[in-house]
């Protein structure tokens, strides 16, 4: 973090180290244990994706994580693709249910789980028995709209898939699943991704065919309106990762709304007949050597969260080919301190003032109110990160001092007296972002 310390202290980096780690794990990988030990210092959420299913070794890893004095939440993704996945998982439900940390087991499914009755039943039974054992469960479905993006009646076929999916999701909720999310299958991604010639992983999926952007865009708009329909019925479905091209669908790690932002890497308004193919010129703005010039995505790639693949390579996101470092060779903290950060800063001053015009003053705060914290504070020597769920805010040192005194005991009058009038805009901003509750 030397780089930061040279900066003016209140000017915070846009990209500090992440606090949500998503990680692929296999029982053989030797580097995992030491990686997890390093991760624990950083994370509030560790998501382990057991890409080859569960095994005693993996259970052991999870149990060690559970015993560690630090308290990140654990998310475990189990692939429901092997034969008889339910019986191979069932013996693990009991030991997993004894974990002390907040744990959620997420079953990774595909559209065939929605369409084939036997697979569907197996999946639902598994969700039910894991839930019954006291575990929080979730469902994550991988979609591959590009596989449909050719031939006739593409949209009709996609809608039929969504309908089947809707039923699966409703049944999963009934079986006890608390979270539902979608993500694109990797087969969908390479065709849309710029090709960075260097610094990319060697595992490139083969056979990238051209896909009509307009077809894809129409599928994605189907998807979004379907999700909004579900939302209006009280069924919350979100994206674990963004669907490139789905311009109103931010990458959001499961929980968040679909109301703002855009996905990374792509022109949000593609020309209707523009053909996508793989190549470095896809988006001239994207210079892989100059990360700071990338369009600012609304996702947390490489700052709020990052992804560690099965080989220990750290990437901003599972969908990204940009490699930040190799955990087998380097320490996590070195990887992140050598990472380029943008100059933008984000704290204290950027919240709406409580005194000026009505647009800027959505809240008329009575000075008798008391803010109650709903966040965690991750201390760093450059300042702090406020974490609430999957979201975070960077704070300067002054912000940290203020945030630390938010304990539900002091009222706003006190904050104003102690930190000045600006404190009120800060607190107001925290309220709007859901980091605090105000009480009398």
């Amino acid at each position: 973090m030397k780089k930061f310390l040279k900066r003016k202290i209140d000017l915070l980096p846009q990209r500090p180290e992440p606090f949500v780690f998503r990680m692929e794990i296999t029982p053989e990988a030797r580097w995992i244990k030491s990686a997890l030990n390093q991760l624990l210092d950083f994370s509030t959420i560790i998501q382990l994706e057991a890409i080859e299913g569960l095994s005693d070794e993996l259970l052991q890893i999870v149990q060690d994580l559970d015993r560690h004095p630090r308290e990140p939440k654990i998310r475990l993704i189990l692939p429901s693709s092997q034969n008889n996945f339910s019986s191979s998982f069932s013996s693990y439900a009991k030991p997993l249910s004894k974990l002390k940390k907040s744990t959620i087991v997420i079953f990774l499914a595909s559209i065939s789980h929605a369409q084939e009755p036997s697979l569907k039943n197996e999946l639902l039974e598994t969700i039910k028995s894991f839930s019954s054992a006291g575990l929080k469960t979730g469902l994550l479905v991988e979609l591959a709209p590009t596989e449909l993006a050719s031939g006739i009646e593409t949209e009709a076929r996609f809608k039929a898939q969504l309908l089947a999916l809707e039923e699966l999701i409703a049944c999963a909720a009934h079986a006890g699943a608390l979270e539902m999310a979608l993500r694109p299958s990797l087969s969908y991604i390479p065709r849309l991704r710029p090709n960075f010639s260097e610094k990319t992983s060697k595992h490139r999926p083969t056979e990238a065919t051209d896909v009509s952007v307009s077809t894809l865009a129409s599928l994605l708009s189907c998807l979004l309106s379907w999700i909004n329909e579900l939302k209006a019925r009280g069924l919350v479905l979100s994206f674990e990762e963004c669907f490139p091209l789905a311009s109103s669908a931010p990458y959001s790690h499961l929980t968040q709304g679909l109301n703002k932002g855009f996905s990374l890497n792509l022109n949000p308004n593609p020309e209707p007949n523009f053909k996508l193919n793989l190549g470095p010129n896809l988006n001239p703005n994207l210079d892989p050597n100059n990360f700071t010039n990338w369009p600012m995505p609304n996702c947390r790639q490489a700052f709020g969260s990052c992804f560690i693949d099965r080989n220990g390579l750290i990437k901003p996101c599972r969908l990204s080919e940009y490699i930040l470092g190799d955990l087998k060779e380097k320490q996590l903290k070195d990887i992140f301190s050598s990472f380029i950060f943008s100059d933008r800063h984000y704290c204290f001053s950027s919240f709406p003032a409580t005194s000026s015009s009505s647009l800027n003053t959505p809240v008329r705060l009575d000075s008798g109110l008391k803010p109650v914290p709903l966040f965690q504070l991750l201390h760093r020597n450059w300042g702090s990160t406020l974490v609430h769920g999957y979201d975070s805010l960077l704070l300067s040192h002054k912000g940290v001092r203020l945030a630390r005194s938010i304990d539900g005991r002091h009222n706003l009058r006190w904050f104003k007296k102690k930190f000045g009038a600006k404190a009120l805009s800060f607190i107001c901003g925290l309220f709007l972002k859901g980091y605090i509750r105000l009480e009398e």
Partner: protein, 514 residues
């Protein structure tokens, strides 16, 4: 809009609302859906509402309810004025719209100008001083139930002496403040120590009278000795609870003599004798097979003519650990069959015109239709050490009857000179329990939508199953399921609120919660 009184009425709400008030959505709500309706739960204040689909869609379209979002969106009331929820007949029906806002507001599902509605904290408050004192008169028993929490094998009968009993009674009545006091005789089988029951009861009445306290005495028995002692218990004015697990073939599966023979006939004879003596015993059954819920409930009503009884599921404790299977499907199965008790109670009401009182169904309903907490058990921080104290046969003091005999929970001894009041207020152990069991400090319950409804459950159960007090309830899924289902049922059929039966005396039911 300015400040709100805790008991804000709709009329006052409407009066106070100004066109430029800002309505904010609240993040992190929990939603559940059924055809045509949506259930919303606000986890922080344990509030809930079921809305018709049309109202819900209207609210999401305005952004006042924003499923899945973690930021607040806001609308000026004036901008919404012209729109009324689609379910109301016309935009002129502005009142309906305001009422909808009111209902959301008092449930903390909407904030206005930054204000949340005041929520009484009685749901997580605990009492200052215990009022229920549970004495283990002996650890031995004349039965050998397969699931007993006491796995007692030693030849020592572990009897409480009269002297110890009197000391406990005197000290709790004199040293612990509070007007009301209940002394419960438990065990083992307390009637095996009849001398202490008799002496203890008489002494308790004397001391209570001189200390000016209201005293109730209770005793939980397996019923075998009721034939011999019912008359005596009647004279002592002791309330008697009998453990009977249901009809003969269910009861005899578990509640057996050392020889292995079932005890049903003897227990029924005991109940008969108790009734003859003029006692009105209460009944407790422990359910091991979820399918038995209805059979047992029917048995209680038809064979025992009981209007009020308690059905507990068996727990991972003592002998049960070896005998019963605690398989994965357990919580789901228990929840499914437990919920059928609701329909059973309704049918009984139609047949007889009175509502059954089934513990803990009544308690759960009471929690859901009010913001009060009439009973200190099962929700953490629970009654252990706050409203309850347990005493071992040897005079050792524990926070709760369920913890008696577990050394790590021992608070002290009745012979200690420190006053009981001080013992409680200065106890490190109680402070740790209060802190670690507070549901917001139980890591596994962190994101649970039901955390402030259920409060991580019973600390003893967590301790027995996980070996750790800061853990969730082992039957977590049971609670998640039954709370959600009860909310749906309450919204479909408000009659069900009558299931709270005798808790009615203790809580104020607010019409708005339904």
């Amino acid at each position: 809009m300015g400040k709100f009184a805790p008991d804000l009425t709709f009329e006052k709400f409407r009066e106070n609302l100004a066109p430029d008030d800002l309505l904010f959505s609240v993040p992190d709500l929990y939603f559940s859906f059924r055809p045509g309706r949506v259930l919303i739960v606000e986890p922080e204040s344990a509030s809930w509402i079921v809305l018709p689909q049309a109202d819900f869609s209207f609210l999401t379209s305005t952004g006042l309810i924003n499923p899945g979002a973690n930021e607040r969106t806001f609308r000026k009331l004036a901008d919404l004025n012209l729109i009324a929820p689609p379910s109301s007949p016309s935009p002129a029906d502005y009142d309906n719209f305001l009422r909808l806002l009111y209902r959301l507001f008092i449930r903390n599902m909407l904030t206005i100008n930054g204000y949340s509605y005041y929520q009484p904290s009685s749901l997580w408050q605990v009492q200052k001083y215990p009022h229920y004192f549970n004495l283990h008169l002996t650890e031995s028993c004349n039965l050998a139930c397969r699931y007993c929490r006491v796995d007692h094998n030693s030849p020592d009968p572990m009897m409480m002496s009269v002297e110890t009993c009197k000391k406990i009674i005197r000290r709790v009545l004199e040293e612990i403040p509070g007007q009301k006091c209940i002394i419960g005789f438990h065990g083992g089988e307390p009637l095996l120590n009849i001398e202490v029951v008799v002496e203890g009861s008489r002494y308790a009445r004397e001391v209570a009278a001189s200390a000016g306290k209201e005293l109730s005495l209770s005793l939980q028995t397996n019923g075998l000795l009721l034939g011999r002692y019912s008359q005596l218990l009647k004279e002592l004015r002791v309330d008697v609870g009998v453990s009977i697990d249901g009809p003969e073939e269910i009861h005899n599966r578990m509640r057996i003599f050392r020889s292995g023979r079932g005890s049903f006939q003897e227990v029924m004879a005991g109940i008969e004798a108790a009734r003859k003596a003029g006692l009105n015993p209460g009944f407790l059954a422990v359910i091991h097979e979820p399918e038995d819920y209805l059979t047992v409930a029917r048995f209680m009503v038809e064979n025992l003519q009981a209007k009020s009884f308690r059905l507990n599921y068996s727990c991972y404790e003592g002998r049960a650990k070896k005998v019963l299977s605690f398989d994965l499907q357990r919580a789901a199965d228990f929840a499914y069959h437990w919920l059928q008790l609701i329909d059973f109670a309704r049918e009984e009401f139609m047949r007889t015109g009175t509502w059954l009182s089934i513990d803990d169904l009544n308690l759960f309903v009471a929690h859901l239709v009010s913001k009060q907490r009439p009973h200190m058990c099962y929700r953490s921080p629970c009654g252990a050490g706050n409203s309850i104290l347990g005493f071992g046969h040897d005079g050792k003091i524990y926070p709760c009857e369920e913890l008696v005999g577990k050394e790590e929970f021992c608070l002290g001894h009745i012979d200690d000179p420190t006053s009981l009041g001080r013992l409680l207020s200065e106890s490190e152990l109680l402070a740790t329990l209060a802190r670690n069991r507070y549901v917001d400090n139980v890591p596994a319950c962190a994101d649970c939508p039901w955390r402030h409804f259920h409060g991580a459950g019973c600390l003893n159960k967590s301790y027995e199953y996980f070996g750790d007090i800061a853990h969730r309830d082992p039957m977590c899924y049971f609670y998640r399921t039954v709370f959600e289902e009860l909310l749906w049922r309450l919204s479909e059929n408000q009659e069900i609120k009558n299931l709270i039966s005798y808790y009615k005396k203790y809580i104020r039911m607010e019409g708005e919660w339904l």
